[in-house]
Subunit: 352 residues, 2 copies
């Protein structure tokens, strides 16, 4: 079993280091780790945020443990050399089409949310976001128009693309509350019309799942008003970008949330995928031991579950994290004073 570790920039390496300590403690047999450069760090060393060697290493692995990318030093680079192109490049090149973003409150941490505690406590949802299509990867460019320079982008979804993500979403819903909300803008977009028609087709194979359609503007409203009403959400790349971040903000503790981006390839015991905290590289606090490694550790748990088939070990990690949060081991982001390493230590001792 091969894991490519791409720690990246800012706090990425610090939080990933704690996840690796946890991985080591599990003493899994037959596990090989490879480390690669990505993001601003890779740009500085190789002239590109996603060098060919890194891409090859990622492709050869069963799973990728990703930290975070982004750095003030790159603000003035042309777009194709910016750190975030590394993540877009990995998604496109490796066919990572299914982004799973669970958002659920941690009991006792509701006060971190700007929502009323009873509303925050009710959140337990999963956003399934398509990652390989939509307006992200269509043709785009600049042209002259009667109104001066014009920027343009092409949005589209075809039936095969929608069916693929719909299957993931319906299966995920089957393993959760059996309710799926498909979010689109079918009153305006042709892309959404095909989206909705295909979702309705796929739904026939999942008669137990209660399917609802919601326009994205209404979904953004409901996500504030009554986020507890959602179980599983499936949506396209652009709306998923917005709604999954909104859902995380509703939970309130962004340093605690992890995500998986799955591909089509099956590994020996699961599905090829990339795992990362939803927080960014936070360059302003990098290198100070202030970063919360919980999201990185929970990303590792998702990796073990989805790519390596190690459900039991994933559960151990998740319970260890719940344990330290119950004990009040909080970093600065949660109003405590534990350092990155302290939190790693605490998780490790819970694991034992």
């Amino acid at each position: 079993m091969k894991i490519a570790v791409l720690a990246g920039d800012g706090i990425g390496p610090e939080v990933t280091a704690q996840a690796l300590r946890v991985l080591e403690a599990l003493a899994l047999p037959d596990l090989v780790l490879f480390e690669g450069d990505v993001g601003a760090a890779a740009y500085r060393r190789h002239g590109h945020p996603l060098p060919p060697e890194t891409l090859a290493m990622a492709r050869a692995a069963d799973a990728i443990l990703f930290g975070a990318v982004g750095d003030f030093s790159c603000d003035d680079l042309p777009r194709h050399l910016r750190p975030e192109q590394a993540i877009l490049g990995l998604r496109a090149e490796l066919g990572l089409f299914a982004n799973l973003r669970p958002a659920a409150g941690f009991p006792g941490l509701e006060h971190l949310s700007s929502l009323k505690p009873e509303v925050a406590r009710s959140i337990d949802l999963l956003v399934v976001r398509e990652l390989n299509g939509d307006v992200y990867f269509g043709d785009k460019g600049e042209r002259e128009s009667a109104g001066g320079r014009e920027g343009w982008d092409s949005m589209s979804y075809n039936e095969a693309e929608v069916r693929r993500i719909a299957e993931v979403a319906f299966r995920a819903a089957m393993g959760r509350g059996k309710r799926l909300c498909s979010v689109d803008k079918a009153n305006v977009l042709e892309t959404s019309r095909i989206w909705r028609e295909t979702i309705i087709e796929v739904a026939k194979d999942y008669p137990e799942v209660e399917l609802e359609h919601m326009y994205v503007d209404n979904a953004a409203m409901q996500m504030v008003k009554e986020p507890g009403r959602f179980d599983t959400i499936v949506t396209g790349n652009l709306f998923g970008d917005i709604l999954s971040d909104q859902a995380s903000a509703c939970v309130g503790s962004i340093g605690l949330l992890a995500s998986a981006s799955l591909g089509e390839r099956q590994t020996e015991h699961g599905t090829f995928g990339l795992y990362e905290p939803i927080h960014g590289s936070a360059p302003d606090i990098a290198g100070q031991g202030k970063a919360n490694p919980v999201a990185a550790v929970l990303s590792l748990a998702m990796l073990l579950r989805h790519s390596l088939g190690l459900e039991q070990q994933a559960g151990w990690i998740e319970r260890a994290v719940e344990g330290i949060l119950d004990d009040g081991v909080f970093g600065g982001d949660l109003g405590g004073s534990a350092s990155t390493g302290d939190i790693g230590d605490a998780i490790l001792s819970k694991l034992q």
Copy 2:
């Protein structure tokens, strides 16, 4: 001075009727009202949600007082005959390019929000949404692809379109807290790159306004975490659709929020525009006297201010509404028992 009244469907006629009582009480000289059919009601009578006569009447007016459109009976109609096409048609045909959506908490009504009271109380923002461009009005259609049927839509903005909405937004910011947040997705979209570059150009003419750029995913996060940080927001049609509804949900009392959609044409004392509550037609409670007419009455206030130059009268109406809310005259949506007519009565007696 001519006002076209398009009351529409569901609760539209009921709430508009209360706004018209208020207008009558102001006894403005030289005011002529025209009433037109729009939405599902217009489809039933004329076969189209925006009949040519209605469009002509709207075009000839100085301002349009709009209720709401939408009806269960239209769910199965082809898209071009659906009620919402009336509103898209009016925006496009009349060049209503600037949507102003103020969102501010009403003192004492913070408990209606799902946000913590101190967070809800801090909200006082204006979303300036572009309404005539973006992926809404680009070419779109369905085509065959390797993955089956494919829906596609074209997104674009040119410099002239962005400059026009930017001018509105910077001027609005000058009249408010002098802070403008421009929301885009410039790390992915070429449309957003032109958007951002043009905003930066226009900013040179408004050196007093503090300008910030934010990606839409981050904006959706901040709108939950710390909505009080926003003063004026400017964004494109699609992101504005999502963020303005999200902002309204943060305030919590959707029955109280109004909006203006302004065109380029100057009227004798202001700007041509359409004014409407942000709530929908709510067909489930139509005809029962349960609808809250406050948003319709506040839409009238916006109409008087922006299109007829009657700032004083607009202020009277707004203070009357604040007055009845202070007095606890609440409809069912605010946990009270006042009927649509009761609320209209209360506003009228405050006005006297």
